[in-house]
Amino acid sequence: MSRLIFPQWTETFKKWVSLLAIGGPVYLTVLIWSCAQNPNTLRIGYQPDQPVPYSHALHAGELGLDCRYCHTTVDRAAKAAIPPAATCMNCHSQVWKESDKLLPIRQAFYENQPVHWVRVHDLPDYVYFNHSAHTTRGLGCETCHGRIDQMVQVYQHAPLTMQWCIDCHRNPEPNLRKPENLTVMGYQPAPGEGAEVKKQYKINPPTDCSTCHR
């Protein structure tokens, strides 16, 4: 009578099977959690090419333009407002007026056709982020956008995940600074400044769903 009984060598094989059976799921979970779900692998560092090689490092860094010179509505509206070509032309009608790099800008201005910039910091459409709500509450540009003054080509600095938002909403103090230092780069808040600002402006960020989702 022929019967299939597992031969001896399968004994060692069995160990591997059990190892795989137990270790596999653990491994996968860790992998998904630490990598697949991790913003570092997903979003941070996103650095698309722009139609015009505009360098923040030059304008905001070397020339020391204030962020609000271009992003005018950042402290009174939801949107920080990418500047119209007209804003560029304020200077570039005098300087670099011949430069080919600025051709798209001049075109936009004279033909009144918009420039198509590529969005870097892109939240899902069901997230309603309001710049003014943060800039007027003592949150610096740098906190979310990083050292813009050192970026020749802008890239995403922060994860911009819900987790990341909530962490700060639950404990804003470390990130708070006096509103007048809004645009200062590389700013080191004085010890206790956060707590002070929090107290002064009655800052208690809500963590309700409807804070961001409507």
């Binding site: 597992f6 779900q37 991790n38 913003p39 987790q163």
Partner: protein, 455 residues
């Protein structure tokens, strides 16, 4: 002394014969080269219904719940009705194999294997609905706790979450229990099989079972432990399912009697289904002498008992509604019996309370045809019970302005039919290719197994 003599002296000769006979009879079902036509028929029907169901589910997922009859007042309808019905059917299996085992009910051995199989297939059918009834099934996995970058976890206050855990636990345990019980029999199949493929397949499934004393010892232990584990599940699963309704505040749902009431109902329908399946199987694969008349009769008695529990629950519901003095409750139950869905209520009561009364008579408990018919009625009645609970309560809510009605579409029907197809397909395949009766255990219950004890 000749071997025969010894054998005779120890009274084991006919024992071997008897064992061999049983082994042969059961294994023959899987080995018989010419399969009964009826089997092909059943499989064919199963596959047909299954494909219909598949098509309907595809449309539900692609187009939206709107292809069903559900509406702004009736959030749940056939989807959850079917879910609860299948879960209920899935109850008899574990009950028979676990609780009756612990109670040392010998007669269970002939049917427990098939009953467990039925349980697993029923739970599979049930499991489809919680997923496809959601508006966005592709996100149904959000109900499973998993780490994510949103700081979001499921909401554990929701009975639906409890369902997720209760049912997955139940499914896992039942499958383990079922498979472990099969191992020795699979080994038997392996040993008897002629073709290489069968040897390989059964061989792998048998996990190298040799039938040594130690293996038997461990087997018995594990079996006992699993039986102990799954016993509370029999009660917990349907209690949790009933919480879906009991914890809500809708009149007709918001009642404390639901857990026991649902469990009784589940066992009721489960046994009915076992009989609906086993009685034909008995004849088809001539297992009459293994699944004996008294086994069937015993099941009829259980059905009768649980049926009366269910009937009692119905009356209690009405009494409490009246006793509560709450006009919303009172109206709801009055409306069940006399409102738009009176016909559903009527079929529920007649099938679940009146029909089982026939089992008082021995004739009804022994005549296979009568039993089958009664059992089918009971299954229909139990489906209506769930439908009545859901539909009548949701169509006549608190504010009269929101009163509505529910009419199923062909896609409601199609999906339900599809799950029946799945069930039928799996069960026919099981009957053909796996040991449909627990050989080893049946042998255990034979008088011959205990021969020589008197010496």
């Amino acid at each position: 002394m000749s071997t025969e003599a010894t054998a005779a002296a120890h009274g084991t000769g006919d024992a071997r014969a008897a064992f061999r006979e049983i082994t042969h009879d059961i294994a023959w079902v899987a080995e018989n080269p010419k399969v009964p036509k009826a089997w092909y028929g059943a499989l064919g029907v199963g596959l047909l219904l299954l494909s219909i169901g598949g098509y309907c589910i595809y449309h539900v997922v692609m187009t939206g719940i709107g292809v069903w009859g559900n509406n702004n007042s009736v959030g749940w309808a056939w989807d959850i009705t079917n879910f609860v019905w299948w879960i209920g059917i899935g109850h008899a299996g574990t009950l028979i194999s676990a609780i009756l085992y612990l109670m040392r009910q010998g007669w269970r051995t002939s049917i427990n294997r098939a009953a467990e199989a039925m349980t697993i297939f029923a739970v599979m059918c049930a499991g489809i609905f919680p997923i496809i009834h959601t508006g966005r099934p592709w996100f149904a996995w959000w109900m499973i706790p998993h780490p994510n970058d949103m700081h979001m976890w499921p909401q554990f206050r929701s009975p639906l979450m409890w369902d997720v855990f209760a049912i997955s636990t139940y499914a896992t345990t039942s499958i383990l229990f079922w498979y472990m019980g099969m191992v020795p029999d699979l080994a038997t199949f392996r040993d008897r099989s002629k073709s290489k493929i069968r040897q390989l397949v059964y061989g792998v499934l048998a996990l190298g079972w040799r039938g040594s004393a130690r293996q038997w010892h461990r087997y018995e232990r594990a079996y006992l432990i699993l039986a102990g584990l799954s016993t509370p599940l029999v009660l917990s699963v349907h209690s949790v399912v009933s919480f879906d309704f009991a914890t809500s505040l809708n009149p007709g749902w918001h009642t404390t009697i639901f857990p026991p009431y649902f469990v009784a109902g589940a066992i009721f329908s489960g046994f009915a289904m076992v009989m609906t399946l086993m009685i034909p199987a008995r004849y088809l694969f001539n297992l009459k002498h293994i699944i004996k008349e008294e086994h069937i009769e015993a099941m009829c008695k259980v059905t009768l008992a649980t049926g009366m529990m269910v009937g009692f629950s119905y009356s209690v519901e009405f009494f409490i509604a009246w006793y509560s003095g709450n006009e919303f409750e009172q109206f709801t139950f009055l409306n069940r019996a006399s409102g738009p869905f009176w016909w559903a209520w009527l079929s529920m009561v007649s099938c679940n309370v009146l029909i089982p009364q026939f089992f008082w008579f021995k004739k009804c408990r022994t005549n296979p045809w009568i039993i089958i018919i009664l059992c089918i009625f009971i299954n229909i009645g139990m489906w209506f019970e769930r439908f009545v609970i859901i539909a009548t309560s949701l169509t006549r809510q608190w504010l009269p302005s929101t009163w509505s009605y529910y009419v199923p579409t062909k896609y409601d029907v199609g999906v339900f039919v599809g799950t029946i197809g799945l069930f039928l397909t799996l069960f026919t395949l099981f009957m053909r290719f796996l040991p449909s009766v627990a050989i080893a255990e049946v042998k255990n219950t034979l008088p011959e197994a205990h021969a020589g004890k008197e010496h």
